[in-house]
């Protein structure tokens, strides 16, 4: 489906090839539902049967986490929330949590951002205000509290260990002919890419331009040095929104949430919209 576009450039592969680059057990960083989620790639990952992922929502996740959890791909969920917003409950997340199907690392949004920034800066930790007194802290033995060394009096502060994912995964409107990816003002994508060993990106299209050619376009660009592979996936965020380019497929997401109430319903959803997809191509 996607291989025909941009084949000239040697960094472009198919969505299935990207999925094959994600090993079992990988720590993957993903953006929130409104920021450009690589849903087509997510479906390809489920088809390939990836296992034991450590999923980091930067700072939250939604339908992508739901599908991966429901399909049994996930061993650890680290996020500040899993939510389908107004479109229903994240049943597979809730059910998996109750069954202890994965390890849950509840976080708070700025802590995930700070830990990802620490990963991108190659520093072992980042301090952050707040959090003290919250039960989150009790359940995150990896977070430490020290006394602020710059304060004269007692001044406890939380230190967050850096997050350095193996792979950042997201979807963007376009990449240029050199593999630079347009990310606009979604700088959480830049932070994820910097922190991660590599980024796998799907795009609506490859444009025959050079994003680095002007100050204007370079400002919204993730430079190709961070990218491990790009695949063209038109409407690749479906049924989620892609920025202001296309909206949520609300009926579909409601249908998902309805079907996902039971494991059987979820399995039928996968059959209809994930596994069958391959045959249709």
């Amino acid at each position: 489906m996607t291989a025909s576009l941009g084949q000239a450039a040697n960094f472009v592969s198919s969505v299935d090839q990207l999925a094959a680059q994600i090993p079992d057990g990988a720590q993957i960083a993903v953006p929130p539902d409104y920021s450009g989620v690589a849903m087509e790639l997510t479906r390809a990952m489920i088809r390939r049967g990836v296992r034991n992922l450590h999923l980091v929502g930067v700072p939250v996740s939604g339908l992508q986490a739901e599908l991966l959890i429901g399909a049994g791909c996930v061993a650890v969920v680290e996020t500040s929330a899993i939510t389908l917003g107004e479109y229903g409950t994240a049943h597979r997340f809730v059910s998996g949590l109750r069954r202890g199907a994965f390890q849950m690392k509840d976080a708070t949004c700025p802590a995930v951002h700070a830990a990802i920034q620490a990963g991108g800066k190659g520093i072992p930790f980042m301090p952050l205000r707040g959090i003290l007194g919250a039960d989150l802290l009790k359940n995150r033995p990896d977070w430490k509290v020290i006394d602020n060394p710059f304060s004269a009096g007692k001044d406890p502060i939380v230190l967050l260990p850096a997050i350095r994912p193996d792979i950042a995964i997201f979807h963007s409107p376009y990449a240029d002919r050199n593999g630079n990816v347009f990310i606009g003002r979604r700088r959480e994508l830049v932070a994820m890419a910097h922190a991660s060993a590599m980024s796998l990106v799907t795009v609506e299209e490859i444009r025959d331009i050079d994003l680095l050619a002007s100050e204007e376009s370079a400002a919204g660009t993730l430079t190709a040095a961070y990218i491990g592979g790009i695949a063209v996936a038109p409407r690749g965020a479906w049924p989620l929104r892609l920025w202001d380019i296309y909206g949520y497929d609300e009926p579909h997401i409601r249908q998902y949430s309805d079907m996902a109430r039971t494991e059987e319903g979820f399995a039928r959803y996968l059959d209809l919209f994930v596994h069958e997809q391959r045959a249709a191509e």
Binding site: P32, L128, R129, G130, L136, N139, R185
Partner: protein
Amino acid sequence: MQDSVPFSRQELLISVIARLLTGCRIVATGASSPIPGAGALLARAQSGGRLRVNVLGSVRNDFLCDGGVELFDLAAQGRLDAFFLGGGQIDGAANINLVGAGGTYPQTDVRWPGSFGSAYLYYLVPRVILFREEHTRRVMVPKVDFISAAGPRNDGTYRPGGPIGLLTNLCWFSFDRSRLRFRLESVHPGHTVEEVRDHTGFDFDCPETVPMTLPPDTDTLALLRTRIARELAETYPRFVAQVFPEAQVPETLSAAD
């Protein structure tokens, strides 16, 4: 009440929120928050342009350009004056729970999405308005099952921010930072102190006479039903269609004409 124009429950809440935001420079509202969003937009309209509002999920009312982290950095810089937090549970010490209830964490009987930014913004934003429409003993509990973000504790922890109060369908409580307790400030028109007591699981201070919550005046309602409804519709079309059914009509008409 000199104003005879009838108003809805939502309009009352929006107008209360706008008053609570008086004097702010920057206010932000989070996901799925049409009433706080409308309150902030109303406060902006009434501020003569001095107030900046960031509505999460909006394109037109989003002045941030530095990614998801910028709102949190703004808060730590001391630039974000007000924010809204809710909770699956809220207790009398202003602890809030956005994670889950019953059972043993993480295998709670009920699970909500998660803490989002609460465990941070609650500590740093000077005017956090706790907002939860449902006012029942299920929500307003003696003690939350999980603390997503802790109420102020006056224990010397760095904490420039915290709750100024709790707004519900029934009333407005202020939060007393010295006594670390809620205080019933006003009861919404059509409700009573007894009703508030009956539906609140935690203890709170209550003066002998509790005034009625000030309803929105005619000008405010007019502004709300026209400009604010239209501004809000970009982000919350279904809410606007339901709460301000007439606001949308002129737009649709003018588009059709």
